[in-house]
Symmetry: C2
Subunit: 237 residues, 2 copies
């Protein structure tokens, strides 16, 4: 019996507006398309979380750079600048372009800011789903970040609830019985990236479900506390 | 009909030794457990590729740092150093700890170097599988790298064959019909990370198959040419 993971695109989440019951809409879409089960991991795009939480700001639709003053206001620190590109550290500690502000998949006169607290956003969605469905799911809020040294963006976790962000394998034996010393795997980032493969960028699918993850991965944790590196643990900041 | 991706762990690849017919062994394991189909993406761990290609060096099994001189020999440049940790740029252009040399999942007196050319390694495996099976699969050679700013390692692609490393969505409309300007998605890194979720670090599963990816992703490309950033495109080197 081959071990498998399945990742499903949940297509039926409607366009989200400020104040919408996002968790309820996800619940309804999953119920119709792909009923949730205990142990599922729900990956939700930052964009719909920001819309539901009204993290939207009006900008000049005719000026592609009209959101740049917001970037400097939202950033805690500017790490690099080249032309229009601003690499920032956000107040949450994420390092990303433009303080995570972007204008894709929103109306032309809108820019979307990151959620105030994406771990809290994930917890709220999870709490509603557990309450309404009675199923024990984990939730990841995912966004698209660039990386140094490698071209192309990948999806990573901004926040999570109900899942360990980092799998700590230190002290566990490898396949040859040798003790692994420094292996801490950031499973929430791998799950966010895996979900992007089916959600896609141009299709606007806000939610994916990952089914079949190891039950031992479920537990408490926070992306901001557990994944974002402290300054003194960071050789590149 | 819900769109899904499936990721399967191929458990039956035996311990690989220098000179082994790795592609043939993968072929046999897949045939027994999870017969390959057109459009599958095979993710193969760097470690078994390095073993098959005899990229193994003898080290002192009693000295956990005995591979460090190799690190300096294999690195093109040292970017950062703190204690025993050496962040290097390899001759291929990857930025990673210890020039990618590691001692997990090998015998205690062995250190494994990265393949000479992981894109070529992927092409060779793919060529054998296409020739023997007549199925059009893509191949990714994956390794585990740390990242700046975020704790925990994730799997990324060292090399690939038969799949576009970067999906170029520039000029495509987003879900609201707005043109996306700078969205190039590194799907091979997301696929490598997704495969890690089922392969695991301690279980020694060298191969996973991702089934259900968009057929438009198949095409030519190289991780070293297309993913590794050039110096002048990099703000952090």
């Amino acid at each position: 019996m081959v071990r498998t993971l399945e990742i499903a695109a949940i297509e039926g989440v409607p366009e989200i507006r400020p104040g919408d019951d996002l968790a309820g809409m996800i619940h309804d879409a999953c119920a119709a398309e792909y009923p949730l089960q205990d142990g599922d991991v729900l990956v939700v795009s930052q964009k719909v979380v920001s819309k539901a939480e009204d993290r939207l700001v009006t900008v000049d639709p005719d000026d592609p750079l009209s959101h740049k003053p917001l970037v400097l206001a939202e950033a805690k620190r500017v790490l690099r600048r080249r032309g229009d590109l601003i690499i920032t550290e956000t107040k949450h500690g994420y390092v990303c372009a433009n303080a995570g502000i972007d204008r894709s998949n929103v109306e032309p006169d809108i820019a979307a800011l990151l959620p105030e607290d994406s771990d809290r956003s994930a917890r709220r969605i999870r709490d509603v789903l557990i309450h309404r469905l009675g199923v024990d799911v984990a939730v990841i809020v995912a966004d698209t970040f660039g990386r140094p040294w490698r071209r192309g963006v990948t999806d990573i976790a901004l926040g999570c609830a109900g899942i360990l962000p980092i799998l700590d394998l230190r002290g566990k034996p490898d396949a040859l019985g040798r003790i692994m010393h420094v292996t801490e795997v950031c499973i929430v980032d791998e799950l966010a990236g895996a979900a992007e493969l089916i959600r896609g960028k141009s299709t606007g699918v806000a939610v994916a479900v990952v089914r079949g993850v190891d039950p031992a991965w479920f537990g408490p944790g926070s992306v901001v506390d557990d994944v974002v590196r402290s300054y003194d643990g960071d050789l590149f900041r």
